[in-house]
């Protein structure tokens, strides 16, 4: 019924056709990559190509149908871009599994992708208006903090590879921090929308910096304490950096005050430096970062630089054009299927492929930020901005880590790394972005009355 009223208005088009074409290309690229792996490793097209390819195709087609029905105005690019990254991750894991790497399991990952798509659809179905989340601000905050500290509960928490970030139910284990980050961004957005005037306006000016009032520092200090607590107690540097970075950036977006960014950076660098002095596992990371090539660190059994050096060797072996899919030796990098999947991809696709991959991530983030700009109310702006930022920030932290730009922290590469929790959480994150872009791109609500019947009268 609104179709007739909407048509003369030059609003962003739905672009459903373009989205379907892009999805088809993404799935075709993934199938091509499978074929390439098989041809290079065994000389024939792998039998799994059709099952994996069609499986992925079927999954994203289902996601597309849900999106077309329940979020018709949503951004046309987000889903195809995510599909391609997820698919390339699947191919790399398949390739590592084919190279007999222990732990790599493409079947597991495609099942997780399936569950991710289900969660994506459920989020779109249940959450018809994302502003309902604003009412759950403090609930989300509580849920986030509980999830974050849950691995510390005795009996429930599990320590794997030195980090206590898993909780286990029998043989299955999940990483609650991955879900906590979404809950916390929802909390930050709601909290900052309510409090940002106080945070932005009150305070004194000293030199070039607007100093906030002491009592407004409260939430910043609390978040900082939680972040440092995660760093120290769970030995999880990645989540700690991710959490605090997201908070500082959202604070900056809400208040537009540089002083918050400066305070945030000082607090975190100071805290991390102190932690580095006091706790050996944090200090090790710094040592390795500063001098990964030294013999002492390279041959150290725990917290050494063996892994990162293997990753750098892999990137070096790949060079500009890569060794080609299935023709390198990414299985030599420890954990090449999870934390170091970026190095593994870099070895086989080279700098050219990595740049394309980073461009795809950049485009996903750009679509998110674009949604934030187009949103018509401050809460959606902050939420979309925050969610896109944590995606970008995750990519930066892990890519910076494996290329030794910043100290290596254990974070997953979104959508690529093998690991259920992160994949599921990121699919939910994408569903939230899709929901918000649908609201933002929808034509503005029609006026209550018909203009033709209303007379403008002079009073």
């Amino acid at each position: 019924m609104s179709e007739a009223a909407v048509s003369p208005v030059p609003m962003p088009a739905k672009r459903r056709g373009a989205q379907l074409v892009m999805l088809a290309i993404a799935v075709a690229i993934v199938m091509g990559a499978y074929a390439n792996v098989g041809l290079a490793m065994t000389g024939s097209v792998p039998a799994g190509m059709l099952t994996y390819g069609l499986g992925l195709g079927g999954l994203v087609l289902a996601a597309y149908l849900v999106l077309a029905k329940f979020a018709p105005w949503a951004d046309p690019l987000i889903l195809p871009l995510v599909t391609l990254v997820n698919g390339l991750g699947l191919v790399m894991i398949y390739r590592l599994e084919a190279a007999k790497m222990p732990g790599a399991s493409a079947t597991n990952q495609i099942i997780m992708t399936g569950i991710g798509v289900v969660l994506f659809s459920v989020t779109l179905l249940v959450l018809r208006d994302h502003r309902a989340l604003q009412r759950l601000t403090y609930t989300a905050g509580l849920v986030g903090v509980v999830l974050l500290i849950s691995p510390l509960t005795p009996g429930l928490g599990k320590e794997i590879n030195g980090a206590r970030i898993w909780i286990g139910f029998g043989s299955a284990s999940i990483q609650p921090a991955e879900f906590a980050k979404i809950a916390l961004v929802i909390f930050f957005a709601g909290y900052l929308v309510a409090k940002r005037d106080v945070l932005a306006l009150a305070g004194r000016r000293l030199l070039f910096i607007d100093l906030p009032r002491a009592r407004d520092l409260g939430p910043v200090i609390i978040t900082w304490a939680v972040a440092i607590g995660v760093l120290v107690l769970q030995k999880d540097l990645g989540s700690s950096l991710l959490l605090f970075g997201a908070f500082v950036v959202m604070l900056y977006v809400a208040t537009q005050r540089t002083s918050w960014v400066l305070i945030g950076i000082l607090l975190f660098v100071g805290g991390a430096f102190l932690a580095g002095q006091l706790f050996s596992h944090v200090g090790d990371r710094f040592d390795v970062w500063l001098d990964p090539g030294s013999d002492e660190y390279y041959s150290r059994e725990f917290g050494g630089s063996y892994q990162i050096m293997q990753g750098l060797f892999g990137l070096g072996a790949g060079g500009i054009l890569g060794t080609g899919l299935g023709q390198g030796h990414p299985e030599l990098i420890p954990l090449a299927f999870s934390d170091f999947i970026f190095s593994a991809t870099g070895e086989e696709l080279g700098l050219t492929g990595l740049m394309a991959l980073l461009m795809i991530y950049a485009l996903i983030v750009q679509r998110g930020l674009r949604t934030s700009l187009a949103a018509r109310d401050p809460y959606s702006k902050l939420l979309a901005g925050g969610l896109s930022f944590i995606l970008a920030w995750q990519v930066f932290i892990i890519v910076g880590g494996v290329t030794n730009l910043i100290p290596l922290t254990g974070l997953v590469t979104p959508f690529m790394s093998q690991g259920g929790s992160a994949l599921l959480a990121n699919w939910i994150l994408i569903a939230l972005l899709v929901r918000m872009s649908d609201t933002a791109r929808r034509p503005p609500p029609q006026a209550i009355q018909n203009e033709g019947l209303t007379q403008v009268f002079q009073r």
Partner: protein, 156 residues
């Protein structure tokens, strides 16, 4: 598999990967070059409607509404034939969270090629430049309209 075939496959794969990136940028081209290319999107539906709108759009007619001050600073809304409502209510076109704004604060609508601002009985009033809007008033280009802490302007 010969070396050459694998080399060709490898180069082709990288090319296709970049093709995908370029295609994706193509899809969002409308974002990069402004709204003028936007009507090209709905190729069939958009065309017949366009000639009706086009002759009316004279040089001096505003195309965009820009928020120049307040918390939503930087937001732009493309002006169409649809009236724009400003207020705290969720169904307003521009939703302001501002203690000084009413839930349905003001309205902007086009009439005979001009945009008219009308106060909808707000508590704190709407200001066009420095004067309070007491009755529907035409809005010239670039003149600030104040709603609470938000300042908006019409631009070409």
């Amino acid at each position: 598999m010969s070396e050459l075939t694998l080399l060709l496959i490898r180069l082709a794969f990288l090319a296709v990967l970049w093709f995908f990136v370029v295609a994706a940028v193509g899809v969002i081209r409308t974002d990069l070059f402004g709204s003028r290319t936007a009507p090209a999107g709905p190729r069939k539906g958009g065309k017949p409607a366009k000639p009706v709108v086009k002759p009316k759009s004279k040089k001096g007619e505003p195309r965009q509404l820009i928020v120049t001050g307040g918390p939503l600073q930087g937001t732009t809304i493309n002006l169409t034939e649809t009236p724009i409502t400003i207020g705290r209510a969720n169904d307003a076109t521009l939703v302001v969270t501002d203690d000084y704004a009413s839930s349905r604060h003001a309205r902007l609508f086009p009439q005979d090629g001009q945009w008219i601002v009308e106060d909808l009985g707000s508590t704190n009033g709407t200001y066009l430049d420095r004067s309070k809007v007491t009755r529907p008033t035409p809005v010239p280009l670039g003149v600030p309209i104040r709603v609470g802490k938000t300042v908006i302007e019409l631009r070409k």
